[in-house]
Assembly symmetry: C2
Homo-oligomer: 143 residues x 2
């Protein structure tokens, strides 16, 4: 994991459709060598997968919210139960004012309400506090 690997990762994050020949040129290697490095980064799990970035608003998901969850036991199957709610994008155990923090994305505030109801059904949850996003300045992936 050297600077060349890090540069390759940065280039692929910007545009994963580039050819290995182009990538190689950018880091001073042959296409084959660049290909081999990327293959190993994938193999080692540094690169998890190649994916597309989708405009969530274009898919109708216009409501974003963060939900602080009180009392949810962070053991057992909480993670699975939360993962089973399709609108929950992230779930973290936190140090601070609550046990869990969720990021939720829905197509309406009504659907958000449904999600909160489902969260309440997770064992041990005693309360939620919801922070609704009014405007997103940016959501980016770090290099």
């Amino acid at each position: 994991m050297d600077d060349i690997d890090r540069t390759l990762i940065g280039l692929l994050m910007e545009d994963a459709t580039q050819s290995y020949a182009t990538l190689g040129k950018a880091v001073g290697l042959s296409g084959g060598a660049a290909h081999e490095r990327v293959r190993k980064l994938r193999e080692r799990g540094v690169i998890r997968r190649t994916t597309i970035e989708v405009d969530q608003a274009a898919l109708g998901r216009t409501v974003s919210a963060y939900v602080l969850v009180d009392g949810g036991s962070w053991m057992g199957d909480s993670a699975d139960l939360l993962a089973a709610i399709p609108a929950v994008e992230e779930a973290h155990v936190i140090a601070g004012p609550a046990s869990l923090l969720l990021k939720v994305r829905t197509s309406s505030t009504k659907e958000l309400q449904d999600v909160l109801r489902q969260v309440f059904e997770v064992h041990g949850v005693t309360g939620t506090q919801t922070v609704v996003v009014l405007e997103t300045f940016f959501e980016r992936t770090l290099k």
Copy 2:
């Protein structure tokens, strides 16, 4: 934007290295037709770009935190000032207990402290409240 488009988006989110022939077969179209649909989704901005998903921990970013910012004017150049801090992954204007919510990812708590110092330098910021992530159950992209 029909069900076929939505299926194509879902398939590409899972694996954007699939050939158009494979994608076409999965939705009952020829490779050329699948290609044309994906091209239009890109053109219309529904698909923003093709990128890689990176294991942040493998890059040394092991500390994640959410920062509630009080008093930050959400007008003017706040967005630009926050975007200039490389560790800030997301910045949202929120309705609730604070003006802004940031997601921050750093390689140490010391670096997190530096970031908080930089946030304080943004015009109008009167206070911050930081929620440190202890464990991430999941971070996924919604279909």
